[in-house]
């Protein structure tokens, strides 16, 4: 202040603002000495950007309400070390530039503790480049995309994946294809960007050769486009098995185009585009989906004997405040996100800090009892999330039934590099009491 009063004249308007600032600026400064950003004595707040509206909203708009529903359940049962956990939701419409501005708002204005469950490869690449949570020490937990580039502890020190990478999925799918369809003509439809490129890397590592391979530009999918090019190309080449590695809207368009063309093939749907509820909501009749092959790393949502499925359904019924809370993969994924956030906070101790959460996930993250049927890959050098998949077929209700029968999951695991695809020996730890992490 003394230095300010030495200046001869202050510009009136700015001076008023600045002087007021002197008084106000000290308040948050003192507060941050006592508490970590986004943490109070009674609450911890995360932020999430997801498409709550727009073309990618169907299905994805169920993630955040499901996650908050799970957190509300935990909050009603004592919270995390006495603090309630909240999720501030921002709609990014699946647009990278919007994801950047919304994440900026969450981090800078809302001052959340960390980012949670950010969705979309292009979106999050833009966020990492523009906002760089790692440089700021902001936890960027459980990114909801399988782009393997996010598993880079050196480049993105606070970013942790949750989905198995697309490379892993493609490697495992390649192994599945060679085992199940050794003599068939195989085709691939992929999204022509980082998502699809990641998948092609995995297939190449697995040695999978496609007889026909067709890309589509993200967002260009429409029934007309698919009928006219990608799907027609599969039909013309008499492809027996079509691997569809695209988003749900593209998958729906492809299945619709195949029906319109009278083209019958064995479809294998990548996990991103294979949510039956969303496909049905997009107009895909159950009959069209029935018999298609899908992949997942969590229990089938129709598997009521699985303790996580059973408990999550119960929590969903009572706590999910979303417009559509039909229990499906998206709801399960949202609940899984909420569960993992709680586990991470618990691992960080009674007074969590941003740095503490990152350290805890690196040191203890792989041993958390989690809903997935495959192991988690967290360590000081790996920020990979789940690391495997199982395969099944969609039945007439849209449920994904494991190849070996309900509840019998043949899980395969691998990494995003040149590691082999192996049958998993992982035994999922028993579900903690009330499905609340006990680590």
């Amino acid at each position: 202040m003394s230095r300010i009063t030495r200046s001869p004249r202050l510009i009136a308007a700015v001076a008023a603002v600045a002087v007021a600032g002197l008084a106000l600026a000290t308040v948050p400064a003192q507060a941050t000495l006592r508490n970590e950003v986004g943490v109070t004595s009674t609450s911890i707040t995360f932020g999430i950007t997801v498409p709550m509206s727009g073309i990618a909203a169907p299905g994805y708009n169920k993630l955040a309400p499901a996650a908050q529903g799970y957190l509300d359940y935990v909050n009603d049962n004592g919270g995390v070390n006495g603090r309630k956990v909240y999720l501030k939701v921002e709609d990014d419409r699946y647009a990278p530039a919007t994801a950047v501005s919304k994440t900026n708002k969450l981090v800078l204005q809302d001052k959340v503790f960390g980012i949670a469950g950010a969705l979309g490869t292009a979106n999050h690449l833009a966020v990492l480049k523009s906002i760089n949570p790692g440089k700021r020490g902001v936890p960027d937990l459980f990114v909801n995309t399988g782009f393997s580039g996010f598993d880079d502890a050196k480049k993105y020190p606070t970013t942790f994946m949750i989905l198995p990478s697309y490379v892993m999925e493609a490697k495992i799918m390649g192994k599945y294809l060679s085992a199940k369809f050794p003599d068939k003509k195989i085709g691939l439809i992929y999204q022509d960007d980082d998502f699809g490129r990641n998948a092609k890397t995995g297939f190449a590592t697995a040695g999978t050769k496609f007889d026909v391979s067709k890309g589509y530009a993200s967002g260009s999918q429409s029934a007309a486009t698919f009928a006219g090019s990608q799907v027609k190309a599969m039909q013309d080449a008499k492809v027996d098995v079509v691997v569809m590695f695209g988003v749900t809207t593209a998958t729906a368009a492809a299945l619709g185009a195949a029906r319109a063309l009278g083209y019958s093939a064995q479809w294998i749907l990548g996990s991103v585009g294979g949510d039956a509820t969303t496909l049905k909501a997009l107009g895909v009749p159950a009959a069209l989906l029935t018999g298609s092959i899908g992949a997942s790393f969590v229990p089938s949502t129709s598997d009521d004997k699985d303790p996580y499925v059973a408990k999550f359904k119960e929590i969903n019924d009572k706590y999910n405040k979303g417009k559509d809370k039909t229990f499906d993969n998206n709801v399960f994924t949202g609940m899984n996100l909420g569960y993992m956030l709680v586990a991470a906070l618990r691992a960080a101790g009674p007074n969590p800090t941003r740095a503490g959460v990152v350290k805890a996930l690196e040191s203890k993250g792989a041993s958390i009892a989690a809903p997935g049927l495959v192991p988690l890959g967290y360590s000081a050098t790996s920020h990979a999330g789940y690391t495997g998949y199982w395969f099944g077929k969609y039945d007439s209700t849209g449920a994904l039934i494991p190849d070996d029968g309900p509840g019998k999951y043949a899980v395969w695991v691998t990494d995003s590099g040149a590691g082999a695809v192996t049958a998993s020996t992982f035994v999922r730890p028993a579900m903690p009491a009330n499905a609340i992490p006990n680590n």
Partner: protein
């Protein structure tokens, strides 16, 4: 844009260009005479002419407190511009002195006891060293008139920011603080790097008859340059008119390389976006935020909203940015080629894949996917590159550069999405300061950005540019409040030797409308630095 050049307009422009060619004659004087002064309403206002004929003006109030703000104005075209050119058409070369960035800011400073001063320079165009000489004469004249002057603050915008830095570099002890705004930093080479790729890209993809560089001497070269502006606007007009369907300008069909892209069904807007991305142009412009589509986004029936927002909006932003930067780019290049005696633009070593970088993922849909990106990159690889004349480049490089040293309290301000002088210029200055690990509060920067959504569309769903650009968008488009905040910070630094505490600076970032509150924001670095 709304008043874009038509083909007919371009033809008129090309044929009548000689009629516009004039040079301004500024009377020269061996010695600067004392200025003429008048006092009214408590303000003494003086006008004079420097030793090289540069007109100047300064003012001070009756309660002058001893501190002068010396304003360095930015780049002015050194040639008249034909009336047919959108937005800036009809410009006549002028050396009118500019003692403050705006009338409002001048009034605010004078009313609070500060003096203001500025020269109109003896020569327009890129002539920073002449401007430095003129500005130092203005300081001397001001001090002679107002001997109670104790502090001088140098500030300026765009090229004026560059001049500000040169003033401080070359005259140690004269200035107590500086504020280079939306500034060119280091040297003009960084801006020419981007201009090269824009002009070359327009030639390669959309009109092979664009000359772009190597203009003839004198009026013939002027005619070529003005003709290029017309061709660029014609191409942009065609792309804009067919932006939703991806229409290519007719002129593109004369390019065998571009014809391959047309045959492959790649929309012209994707190629335009590619040009913008290799150059480092932002996808937000004066009227387009790069993310908004037409109509109500919450209306489920508005199915095309997101497709437009993701596939078209980024290209619209780049289109408007190229339109607004094209005149500057062409004229600056023409100006410098005339001064240096040869070609100065060179992209023979540019790495277009690296220059696009992560943006290929962020704007994948607007670029029409990986296959289209590979196709456009292929065209750029095959297309002949531009090579500069070594002697001309050597002459350009011999000009003084700014040091990047922060030796007095320094305040910078830049729009994140400045389409003409990229924010990376200020980032360069920031990086230079941070590299010194100075413990004192000697440097502060404010980054401005427009609202999240500001694109507007007509009732027919067409892009609308008929409304004023929001402040904090475009080039040096700052509000008076933002300018006065910088002025206040600089004055604080001038009086105290250091800037206000970081907490106050941060408070201002969070309080003044249009400032980014992010004290860790790093703007994209200039492509020239890799």
């Amino acid at each position: 844009m709304s008043n874009r050049i038509t083909r007919r307009g371009a033809a008129i422009l090309a044929t009548s260009v000689l009629a516009f060619a004039t040079t301004i004659a500024i009377p020269t004087a061996a010695n600067a005479a004392d200025p003429t002064c008048d006092t009214a309403l408590g303000i003494t206002a003086c006008n004079g002419v420097g030793s090289d004929g540069a007109p100047y003006s300064f003012s001070a109030p009756a309660n002058f407190g001893g501190t002068l703000y010396l304003w360095s104005h930015g780049y002015r075209y050194p040639v008249d511009l034909p009336a047919a050119i959108p937005v800036v058409g009809g410009y006549k070369v002028t050396s009118t002195p500019e003692p403050a960035p705006s009338t409002d800011v001048a009034k605010a400073l004078l009313s609070t006891g500060f003096g203001i001063a500025g020269s109109g320079y003896s020569k327009q165009g890129w002539s920073p060293e002449l401007a430095v000489k003129s500005q130092m004469e203005v300081v001397a004249a001001f001090k002679k008139k107002f001997p109670s002057t104790t502090k001088v603050i140098a500030w300026g915008a765009s090229e004026g920011g560059y001049i500000t830095q040169l003033l401080v570099d070359q005259n140690p002890g004269t200035f107590a603080a500086m504020a280079p705004l939306c500034t060119v930093s280091n040297d003009i080479g960084s801006s020419l790097f981007a201009a090269t790729d824009v002009l070359w890209g327009m030639q390669t993809f959309f009109d092979p008859t664009i000359v772009g560089h190597g203009y003839a001497a004198g009026l013939a070269g002027y005619a070529q340059a003005m003709g290029d502006i017309g061709k660029i606007f014609t191409a942009l007009g065609a792309i804009q008119a067919g932006v939703t369907v991806g229409t290519w300008p007719e002129t593109a069909k004369a390019s065998p390389l571009a014809s391959n892209l047309i045959a492959a069904g790649i929309p012209a807007r994707s190629a335009l976006l590619m040009v913008g991305l290799i150059a480092g142009l932002p996808t937000q412009s004066a009227h387009f935020d790069g993310t908004t589509g037409p109509g109500d986004p919450t209306n489920p029936a508005n199915q095309d909203y997101d497709k437009f927002a993701l596939a078209i909006s980024p290209a619209l932003g780049v289109l408007e940015n190229i339109a607004s930067a094209a005149v500057l780019g062409v004229v600056v290049n023409y100006d410098l080629e005339q001064q240096m005696g040869g070609k100065i633009l060179d992209n023979s070593t540019h790495d277009f894949v690296a220059q696009v970088g992560d943006a290929a993922g962020t704007y994948n849909m607007a670029l029409s996917g990986d296959a289209a990106i590979a196709g456009m990159q292929g065209v750029m690889k095959l297309a002949p590159k531009w090579t500069a004349d070594a002697a001309a480049v050597a002459k350009l490089n011999a000009a003084k550069k700014t040091s990047g040293k922060v030796v007095i309290p320094t305040v910078t301000m830049h729009s994140l999405n400045d389409p003409a002088v990229f924010a990376g210029n200020t980032q360069w200055l920031t990086d230079q300061y941070l590299a010194t690990n100075s413990a004192k509060e000697m440097y502060a920067t404010f980054i401005t950005s427009g609202p999240e959504h500001y694109s507007q569309f007509t009732a027919a769903g067409l892009p609308d540019t008929s409304y004023p650009a929001p402040s904090s968008t475009n080039h040096c488009n700052f509000s008076s409040m933002q300018m006065l905040t910088v002025a206040w910070m600089a004055n604080y630094g001038a009086q105290n030797g250091v800037l206000p505490d970081a907490e106050i600076t941060q408070f201002l970032r969070e309080t003044i409308p249009g400032f980014s509150p992010d004290d860790m924001l790093e703007t994209p670095r200039l492509k020239i630095y890799g």
